[in-house]
């Protein structure tokens, strides 16, 4: 069974069709990268998968449970407890972190596990400290986001998402708001998660990174999946549009 299944997803903004009948699936433990030019619909795809945007057509399911479907213009989104349960399957790391500025690093990470998931405080704190250590931020637990660099903020955001123990973690261009110097430290952290066999879907412009880390890559263009396969298949396929896109990155 696929962890995530998106079938025939369509999404328009003000008459502009951003996703045109896209289907993707993600298996448990898999790392999928989504690449493609700006405006190709990559971020929208993630925002639909995480239910931040409502789809105009298609069906989204997690572990075989339908989370959202639109048929004949009738929109069905799960509600109540079921919604909570399905939402707990996934986490999202935003491009611009979206940390809570009035909370310390520790509270950013622990508040949701304690007050949303109602887990024991001591256990959550111990787990958060372990996560911070993994992120190389063990000395920052009392700092506030405004005192951190962009790279450090993004690592806190990753820890915050992981603290809820999601089954799948989405990354929406996690390094696009960072300068090149800080990009490396965030990519290293994401790579270290790959070793833990956490299922990840990563929207990125870091081609070398995507090639290196992914089990599978999707190349999106104009709201469609233009190419899909292993990193070798996608990067060496000689696909015309893909080569044109890669040419701009000199990979």
């Amino acid at each position: 069974m696929n962890l995530l299944e998106m079938k025939h997803i369509r999404k328009s903004f003000d008459g502009l069709e951003v996703l045109k009948d896209i289907s993707i699936s993600v298996k448990e433990g898999e790392i999928l990268s989504v690449i493609g030019p700006s405006g190709s619909g990559k971020s929208t795809l993630l925002r639909c998968a995480t239910m931040l945007e409502h789809i105009d057509g298609g069906e989204i399911s997690y572990l075989g449970e339908i989370a959202a479907s639109v048929k004949d213009g009738k929109e069905l989104y799960v509600k109540g407890e079921k919604r909570k349960q399905i939402s707990s399957y996934f986490g999202l790391v935003f491009q611009n972190f979206n940390l809570f500025p009035h909370y310390s690093v520790m509270r950013n990470i622990t508040d949701a596990p304690i007050h949303v998931q109602k887990r024991a405080k001591a256990e959550v704190y111990a787990e958060a400290r372990a996560l911070l250590k993994k992120m190389g931020l063990e000395d920052k637990e009392d700092a506030y986001p405004c005192q951190l660099s962009g790279g450090q903020c993004q690592r806190v955001a990753i820890a915050r998402a992981l603290a809820l123990n999601p089954k799948i973690l989405f990354f929406d261009e996690p390094t696009s708001a960072l300068d090149p110097e800080l990009t490396g430290e965030v990519l290293r952290v994401i790579k270290s998660l790959a070793d833990l066999k956490i299922t990840m879907v990563i929207v990125t412009h870091e081609m070398a990174f995507a090639r290196d880390i992914s089990d599978r890559i999707i190349f999106m263009d104009k709201g469609l999946v233009a190419l899909e396969g292993t990193p070798e298949e996608v990067f060496d396929a000689g696909h015309a549009r893909m080569q044109e896109f890669l040419g701009k990155f000199n990979v």
Binding site: P101, A112, Y144
Partner: protein, 215 residues
């Protein structure tokens, strides 16, 4: 009249000014939040009514509003308004200030980036949790300087209740000045207002400093 007697009378009047000030704040600060929710309500007639209410409250003088709140019930329904004056004052001031506070809250709430709501949603916070834990604390920090402005204005606006012949510090000062033909009570009353506002500004600055642990 000795300075001592004058001071005692003005101080008693000042007590009334403080009472009006405190009660108005007590009611208008939370009421402003209710008005804000009405202003942004998805139910169109509600948001329209609230918009009209805010427009009238801000568009007409508070003194005129006080006169209407106090004398209106008598002219309209021949209500006996004896003993109703203080209620009318608190009602008029609170409803007027709530309109201003609602707009201040709105500016603060609308300045919170959408990403904060999205992050909260992804972390599983419910709507009320998101508002109370994530949004409101940030809004308070943002609106504090504007609220300080309003609070200082309110201290001075308490003097407007002399228009319905309520005896507070300003009315006392006017009476003494007229009776004794001296400007001294006005100077003393001015001193009271100034010192009170100085304290208000100082307290609000402490709050601001306390919230300065992040930006």
């Amino acid at each position: 009249m000795s300075l001592n007697v004058m001071l005692r009378q003005l101080t008693m009047g000042f007590g009334q000014s403080c009472l009006i000030f405190a009660l108005t704040l007590l009611f208008s600060l939370p009421l402003g939040m209710v008005v804000y929710f009405g202003r942004v309500s998805r139910i169109k007639p509600v948001s329209w009514l609230v918009k009209i209410y805010i427009s009238i409250m801000r568009g007409t003088p508070l003194m005129l509003q006080l006169l209407i709140w106090y004398f209106g019930p008598f002219y309209l329904w021949k209500m006996n308004i004896g003993g109703y004056k203080f209620t009318a004052i608190i009602l008029g001031c609170s409803l007027n200030y709530a309109a201003y506070f609602a707009e201040i809250y709105r500016s603060g709430i609308e300045s919170i980036p959408k990403g904060q709501y999205e992050a909260a949603q992804l972390l599983g916070y419910g709507k009320s949790q998101t508002f109370l834990k994530i949004i409101l604390p940030q809004v308070i920090k943002i609106v504090l300087p504007s609220v300080t402005n309003e609070v200082i204005t309110l201290v001075k606006d308490t003097s407007l209740v002399y228009s319905v012949s309520y005896i507070e510090m300003f009315a006392v000062a006017k009476q003494i000045a007229a009776a004794q033909t001296t400007v001294l009570p006005f100077v003393i009353a001015g001193g009271f207002y100034y010192i009170f506002n100085f304290v208000v500004a100082w307290v609000m600055e402490l709050f601001e400093k306390k919230l300065n642990y992040y930006h």
